[in-house]
């Protein structure tokens, strides 16, 4: 009897192995494509409690005047007078201090339009800090438009250079996710963090402006220029974001420039007829109080600017600026 030939491979098993091979190759191909898109440093998903960096508190402790309001038409004189009324720049800036001037350089606008911090003011304040012995003065902002154009066309670059300060333009690597405790919007949000690593004093400089969404743009809104990412989404909840900006930043000083006020068509303005000579300079350790007074220059009530009261309720300062017993000075 002849033996049967070796059992040929079961055709069913052959078909299965073929299918398995094809499937395996497809899975490998999918895996290869997936690996191509793999991000070893993925964005975080839902915000984690306590995650993200925090900015330091740059406010100074101790007693002493907290607010000065000076009436006059020349920025160099009014800001010096206001600082003198608060004890002089030396009260806030000591020899060796490293100072950050957070300006409003949001738009590539000429100084005449009052849409940005005035270069005269930047130059004066930077010069005063250096004269007080500051080791370094940095001027920065994250503008809406191209940063170089903004700093150049606003005159702020030149003003900084002439005073001996340095401009730090925003760069990708300068942003870090920051979380503000108690905030609903500023959770793990990219903030221009790098300049703050080198400084121990922060001064905000902002013009008084109308704003189409929030009603006003003053010292609290000025911190918007620290935000990165697609920050324009915050326009949908503008009063909350301004409140949280007040929670984000505890500056040494704020300087609210009401020499001219943009009464309408803010925040960009465009026509000199949008401006009114209000001839007022406000310097304060309390941004909320400064803005509460600034509302009067815009001929707005506090109820028209709900972010001021909500910033006060969040502990960022006081809306009752009179309670600070400000020095009121008139200069010719």
């Amino acid at each position: 009897m002849h033996s049967l030939p070796p059992n040929p491979v079961d055709p069913d098993r052959r078909r299965f192995l073929l299918r398995l091979t094809k499937t395996g190759l497809a899975a490998l191909a999918a895996g290869a494509i997936g690996y191509r898109f793999f991000d070893p440093n993925p964005p975080s998903g839902a915000p984690k409690e306590g995650s993200g960096a925090r900015l330091a508190d740059f406010s100074i402790n101790g007693s002493g005047p907290q607010m000065a309001i000076v009436r006059g038409g020349q920025r160099e004189k009014t800001v010096q007078s206001a600082l003198a009324a608060l004890g002089g720049i030396e009260r806030f800036v000591r020899p060796g201090d490293r100072v950050l001037l957070k300006v409003n350089a949001a738009f590539a606008s000429p100084p005449s339009l009052n849409a940005t911090s005035h270069p005269e003011l930047v130059k004066t304040v930077a010069g005063l800090c250096l004269k007080a012995g500051a080791g370094r003065v940095i001027v920065t902002d994250n503008p809406i438009n191209d940063p170089q154009s903004c700093f150049d066309l606003t005159g702020i670059s030149r003003a900084a250079k002439e005073s001996g300060a340095e401009v730090m333009l925003p760069a990708t690597r300068y942003f870090r996710p920051v979380t503000v405790p108690g905030a609903t919007l500023l959770e793990n949000w990219p903030v221009l963090f790098e300049p703050f690593r080198f400084v121990n004093k922060v001064i905000g400089l902002a013009p008084v402006k109308d704003h189409h969404r929030s009603g006003a743009s003053m010292t609290l809104k000025n911190w918007y220029g620290l935000l990165g990412g697609r920050r324009n989404i915050f326009h949908q909840d503008i009063h909350t974001i301004i409140t949280e900006l007040g929670m984000l930043m505890r500056p040494t000083l704020v300087i609210l420039d009401g020499t001219q006020t943009m009464m309408q068509n803010g925040p960009t303005g465009g026509s000199l007829s949008d401006l009114k000579d209000t001839n007022t300079m406000i310097v304060s350790t309390d941004a909320v109080a400064a803005d509460a007074f600034g509302a009067s220059l815009l001929e707005r009530r506090l109820s028209d600017l709900p972010h001021i009261q909500s910033a006060a309720e969040a502990g960022a300062g006081t809306a009752d600026w009179r309670s600070l017993n400000p020095a009121m000075i008139e200069i010719g």
Partner: protein, 342 residues
Amino acid sequence: MERTQLTGKTETIISIVILTLLVAIGTSVFYRQSFFNPAVLTATVPDRASTAEKDQQDGSPATSIVPLPGSVIPLSAPERFDPETLSDKINGKAELYLSAGFQRLETQRFRLRDTAEAWMELFLYEMGNPENAFAVYSSQQRDNAQPLDVSRFAYRTENALYWVHGSNYAELIASEPSESLQQAMLAIAKSMVSGRKVEKQGVDLPSIFPTRDRIKDNITLIPSDAFGFSRLDRVYTAEYQIPEGTFTAFLSDRGTPEKALDAAEAYRSFLLEFGGRQLESPVKGETASGLMVVEILGSYEVIFSRGRFLAGVHEAPAIMPALELAKSMKSQIDAFITSQSR
């Protein structure tokens, strides 16, 4: 031969495991993707260069978006923005344009050839139609502006020109008030207007508003939510000054008489819902018929429809002047309709 089973039990189990693994991978990817974080979409400085044309190799800006007079040269490359990126240029003001039908923005800076410090920036908004362009023009119109002979709706201030041309709204803003910049800007504006043919120049409805007691050049087009009522959109308004105070006349083309009547009724109901009290008109007769009068919060509203138009008076301090103005508007609307039918 009898067909045998294609797969055995082991093969089936392996297949199920593989499929289950694939489903699990897909599910986990979907789950992670659901936690969208807009902060990280661009957690860096946006690439603004992508919105601007590249300069020429010699460093001079590329093309100009409008013909330039010989005294003016480009200072920067053109930039272009769409509804997604408009706020990258004008920040919080973007909503004003977006709510009015904005489509795109072209901007560019120029300077005087012989004065580097004297520069200007042109903002050219494409709003989709002349009505939208008029809406953003009128809502930002400055008081005490001077007339500008560039187009039907145009004015100038000390350092800027503003005008409407077809579906475009344009702003030309100078770095400082100077005669030489004004001359250059005027030349640019005129060349822009003459170089761009349009089907329809401006809007016609403002001419309906009676001129008596009207505050000059104070006609505005509200694109939406006029007087706090969501159903009132595309409403023209004009301000009037009388001894008792100021008040507003309004006018809106609703398309058909039925829609105009419906809008009038809806606005009347809206006012009554918020505490208004409908009054009987003190004036009788044909010219007063169809006028609905509502007293609310100490002022008077007069509402009516005429043909396809909704019209009336808003926040009048006294009833008789309001009724007089409403009757006058009725006549104007009738004349307008007649002229259009010829």
